[in-house]
């Protein structure tokens, strides 16, 4: 598939209290972000188990991004501090296994940051488009021809 035609599938886990609202704001302000980003709402960024991230790749995602409230602003006070440690270690492990480190990302997006949400998604989609299809963490049985 030529690069120009390749549209990556992106899964964005967004916490209910900040980032999901930020995405909503991006929408109501009619800010553009690529339609390839599929948002999955989670109560808090720390609800995201490493299995979720791997599973998203298995089911055909080319990039997975996790968005939460800014550190210090988590609705549950400290959830995203745990997220931060977990994801740092998980991403480092993926890199250690030779899986492209640009395919995973964590961003802090508040409910007021609609513009940031759109910009982050555009940038992430661009990066993943350049990387091409996810081959290293795929399950071919889960991919549609």
């Amino acid at each position: 598939m030529p690069i120009s035609e390749f549209k990556p599938k992106i899964v964005a886990f967004c916490c209910n209290w900040c980032s999901y609202a930020g995405a909503d704001l991006a929408g109501t302000n009619r800010l553009n972000y690529p339609a390839d980003v599929k948002i999955i709402r989670v109560p808090c960024s720390c609800r995201v188990n490493p299995i979720f991230i791997l599973r998203a790749f298995q089911r055909g995602a080319d990039g997975v991004i996790l968005c939460g409230c800014h550190p210090g602003d988590c609705h549950y006070t400290t959830g995203n501090y745990y997220t931060r440690r977990r994801m740092t270690l998980l991403f480092s492990m993926l890199d250690y296994l030779g899986i492209e480190k640009e395919r995973t990302r964590v961003e802090w997006v508040s409910a007021a940051e609609g513009a940031k949400f759109a910009a982050v998604m555009q940038d992430f989609v661009k990066t993943v488009t350049e990387l091409g299809e996810n081959k290293r963490l795929e399950d071919r049985r889960c991919k549609k021809p």
Binding site: P50, I51, L54, R55, F57, Q58, P71, G72, T78, Y81, Y82, R84, R85, R86, M87, T88, L89, L90, F91, S92, M93, L94, D95, Y96, L97, G98, I99, E100, K101, E102, T104, R105, V106, R136, L137, E138, D139, R140, R141
Partner: protein
Amino acid sequence: MQEAMKKRAKELLASGEVTRVIGWKKNEFDYDITPAVFESAEEIDRDFRYDDFCGPNLSKFTFKNQKNDTKTLVFLKPCDTYSMTQLITEHRVNRDALYLIGIPCFGKIDIEKIRADGTDGILSIASEGADVTVKTLYGDKTYVKADVMAERCLACKSKYHTIYDELMGEEGEVMETGRFNEVEKLEAMTPDERFGFWRGELSRCIRCNACRNACPACTCESCVFDNPDTGISQKAAADSFEENMFHIIRAFHVAGRCTDCGECSRVCPQHIPLHLLNRKFIRDIDKLYGEYQAGEEVGQRSPLVNFTTDDAEPDIVRKGGK
């Protein structure tokens, strides 16, 4: 040491201080040693062993075979004490029902290294100081112990016992044996080389789950790998994704709790260097959140259930700041 241990175990049984003893017993071959529960002096006289083949970590065995209503004596090598301390911290064993004796360890022999040399038909093996003498159907062979020692023992982190009620022999020290050298080598490779390396290793996994079953950090009542609803339950991996999945998840689950006891690599029938995954987590934790050794003392807080407000951002991985 074996005779002194037997004597002490029998004393404690006779005085009623303990009613059970957890130790090692020899099976058909000298190198075929398994954990066992002994309940009488006769059983101890007949089967009890402590030699350079007593690799199994008795902490996990104790977790599986504990009894609350009676006291059990457990013999622990230095690395086993770390596992035991971690199990106590996690409230997985009942400290009050245990009588712990720390014992010295001079490195365990990896029978596979002797077999890899083409040595077959082994009748008996004796390890004395730096020499290992193997009697086989085809004659005798001698090895230098350091050449046939288990990988984890060559990179032993400590001869110090983190917990005991009683110590036999001399107390040792924490050691620096370059256990992260291999991790560093991998880190220095390109992502493509690393991917190739791990495909070669992980694709051999037959999902026997021995690594999980032997791991003292894997004591969950119901493990994700036993739950059919997770979609990653016990079965042979169908493709490279599932091979990666199992190992990433298991290493992640024990991150911050893994004491680097080396049981996982020891029991793997496919000789997959699982310690390289755990040590990567240990090293990252050390670098990012400060030096941490699981099982050092009771009540430690694992770095993964802890935080500081100025921890590094996950971006540090992407930007290569580490």
